[in-house]
Symmetry: C2
Subunit: 483 residues, 2 copies
């Protein structure tokens, strides 16, 4: 097991199987039914960003509420200014030896990304099909297939009449794909209801096929749009070229001034607050044996390139980044139109690492742009949203318990990784609920979340159910973290 701290140093109490054999047999016997239930949920086109899909989003909420309620869990739909939060909980076990039972909160979402571009799907996004052991549909891996592993594990165990050694709460929202704004806003007033020791999330990926992972960190984010305005209208580049500053060139100059040619971000102060990656984590990542040539091939790139002095995994997980997400200016259609465009704009975003705060990043970018302001144009920077990075406690008893549960289900110990993407609500959970976070991704990097032909491995789906059921037992055997 590739781990920072040996489990031996922690309060692991037994090596007996985590789940009774008959429950494992029950899971196997019912695997077809579980797949049918997943298909049923995936058929509901719950696209939260599409105002014409409102009924579907509610239907997907109702579906999972009914699934939990029919298993006997206390269930409710919590209204927000947008789509409802589906909440369920198992009973709180009595204290044992005066020690309060652990409370875990499963967080996931029932909304999905828009499926466009539709013409790139091999089968319709909301007509799930199974090919080669994988289920293809929008939401398969992000997040219905993943969150359903926990819903099924808890519901089926509970429905079987067995008691749970800890209290499990489930919170499944419908606005994750549009920014979780309502959940974030309502979180303080829901703090008592959601109070927990650890939040469990399956909305990410394993390190590779048959290489399950526990994700101990996520990068934060800060997104921007930069506008450059030149003349009041597009000019003839012959009559005016050379005498009037070209806004598209000014934009390119501004954007390229923000990054050295070798990939280091060239904004003064950008790296000031970056906490160094712990050597032990860097060492663990190196042992993953990531192969740059293979990685480049997997994304179809000519080669990898990034900040000097860091490995690919370090660049993705432990170092901040700055990416242009879109460029717009002038004539973009067929053929030649020799205009000097009136304006140019770019969308860009930074991924942040522990230590960095989006507000401070906005400030150093504003200062940089002011220092590099080209003459002859106006510029405007519009920050959109921001969130700090999230670091889980890699040495918490929950993490160690999760490692044991994952190994029991997948037959191989998980590796410890981070993920370069952002789930802003998790840092808010840590802050408001004062809890640990467990990120147990059952997906794969090539699952095409947010892309055409999204998929989820059914083997991973079933191992996820097994791992979830085992997790609650494993957690109950650990000492809770000291308050």
């Amino acid at each position: 097991m590739l781990w920072l701290t040996s489990p031996k140093n922690l309060n692991m109490t037994s090596s007996t199987p985590l789940l009774p054999a008959e429950f494992l047999a029950f899971l196997t016997e019912n695997s077809d039914r579980f797949e049918r239930e997943l298909i049923e949920w995936l058929r509901i086109a719950s696209i939260s960003s599409d105002s014409s899909a409102t009924e579907n989003v509610h239907a997907a909420a109702d579906w999972v509420k009914e699934k939990l309620a029919s298993a006997g869990l206390r269930t409710e739909s919590i209204a927000t200014d947008g789509f409802p939060l589906i909440y369920a909980e198992t009973p709180l076990p009595e204290p044992i030896d005066g020690k309060k039972a652990t409370v875990a909160l499963v967080y996931g979402h029932y909304d999905v990304q828009p499926p466009e571009p539709l013409d790139l799907w091999d089968s319709p996004p909301f007509e799930p099909v199974i090919r080669d052991g994988k289920i293809y549909a929008r939401g398969a891996t992000d997040d219905k297939g993943q969150v359903l592993t926990h819903v099924l594990a808890v519901a089926e165990w509970f429905a079987s009449g067995r008691s749970l050694p800890i209290q499990i709460k489930l919170l499944i929202e419908g606005e994750e794909e549009v920014g979780s704004e309502n959940l974030e806003k309502d979180l303080p007033e829901l703090a008592d209801k959601l109070a927990c020791d650890v939040v469990v999330v399956s909305d990410s990926s394993q390190y590779a096929v048959d290489r399950p992972a526990i994700t101990c960190g996520l990068r934060g984010i800060a997104t921007y749009e930069l506008f450059v305005k030149g003349p009041s209208h597009d000019l003839h580049s012959g009559s005016f070229g050379g005498a009037v500053k070209n806004p598209a060139m000014a934009l390119c100059q501004l954007l390229s001034s923000m990054m050295d040619e070798d990939g280091k971000i060239a904004v003064d102060g950008f790296y000031d607050d970056v906490l160094p990656m712990p050597e032990i984590e860097r060492e663990a990542w190196k042992q993953l044996g990531s192969d740059d040539a293979e990685f480049a091939r997997s994304v179809g790139a000519e080669a990898l390139a990034g900040e000097p002095g860091y490995t690919t995994d370090e660049r993705r997980w432990g170092r901040p980044s700055l990416d242009i997400n879109g460029l717009t200016s002038g004539h973009q259609g067929e053929g030649v139109k020799t205009v000097l465009p009136a304006k140019a704009s770019a969308k860009f975003s930074c991924r942040l690492v522990p230590g960095q705060q989006p507000q401070r990043i906005t400030q150093v970018i504003e200062e940089h742009l002011a220092r590099h302001l080209p003459s002859g144009v106006w510029i405007e920077l519009r920050p959109d949203h921001g969130a700090a990075a999230m670091l889980a406690d890699a040495t918490s008893p929950y993490t160690i318990a999760a490692a044991e549960a994952v190994e029991s289900a997948f037959g191989v110990a998980p590796v410890m990784i981070r993920e370069g993407g952002s789930i802003p609500i998790l840092a808010r959970f840590q802050e408001v609920l004062q809890c640990d976070v467990l990120l147990l991704g059952w997906g794969q990097n090539d699952d095409a979340a947010h892309s055409p032909n999204e998929k989820f491995s059914l083997a991973d789906f079933h191992r996820g159910i097994h791992a979830s059921a085992a997790l609650w037992q494993a957690i109950s055997k650990t000492e809770p973290a000291a308050a």
Copy 2:
């Protein structure tokens, strides 16, 4: 008169009025009809680049052919691989004292630019309206309104039964806005038919309102599209940002590497072949009294900016330029989509000055890109079309005759300028027909050619007709240039 060489040094033979008073009265009496005819022609949406407008382009050709034929000119439609060339000619006068009559060729075009973006037009582009003495429509100034001055001057004079002292040929094409490729291709085999002493073109602007000009030079052009390809598909900027080279950033770096921040083009060899501007021309331009602040206001820019060491007119007319015409990459719609785009591209173009050849410019740009190739991406440069700059003979008798004709119509002597735009076919006329060129722009710099709300001053329209009619008389009074 702001001029290189005093007209006194040349063979100007008289100061009698160029046109009979009764013809000038006729022009005044028929001015409403001329405007109605212009409106009729402008209503025809002859967009040569729009395949759905093919019938309109032919209709615009037929309209001008009919106008010339009904005046009694020998007229024909010359087929090309694209839209036809409309050709007309007046009879060749008998030699006087054994001296062959001068032959002038009027060149113009009946096709127009696409009108997009439509939402920026205050009135529909093909429903001409007159506001404040100006006619607003696509093609008003470029080039229907301008070429029609010559069509009307020749046709009305000829229809009145008067003889012309020189032969006038008219060539009005339908593919100027898409590069004049067919005319250029067919020009050698049309050389006998088009043989002339001077080509007369009105497809440019006066120096300012009530400051007519003779344009003695045009810049050349070289247009390109630059493609940068990164990963095979858009990637999640969280999972991959920092580890995979961003094609949009690579594009910005490449483009900004081609220009210093102060506006000098930073491509090695780019300026190698540039011929210096003659001091006498620079001096003449300085005396135009161009005001940078006023110029910036007229185009709505924050300020002017360009290559250090040159005035605004020198930058526009006598120095080469490089402009980005369009930028495209990634997410350009509403809101945030944090992709690392698979590709990025730019359209850009250079304006060339005497001495520079487009082939050589392509070569130095290719060498520059190869030297600055970012790692991790593929790039491709696609040259589109190119043409060398054109210089007219500012001391030719035709130029001097034109100055007299313009002064008689506008009431003020023209100034001598160049124009930064390109009419590639003119250098070809010079080369194939071995003729002089007269560029007599009746437009204004703010006429918005190629832009929404294109317009043309009706006063300039009528003065253009007068000037054209006077020009043929003035030319007949000069000695032809020595062979």
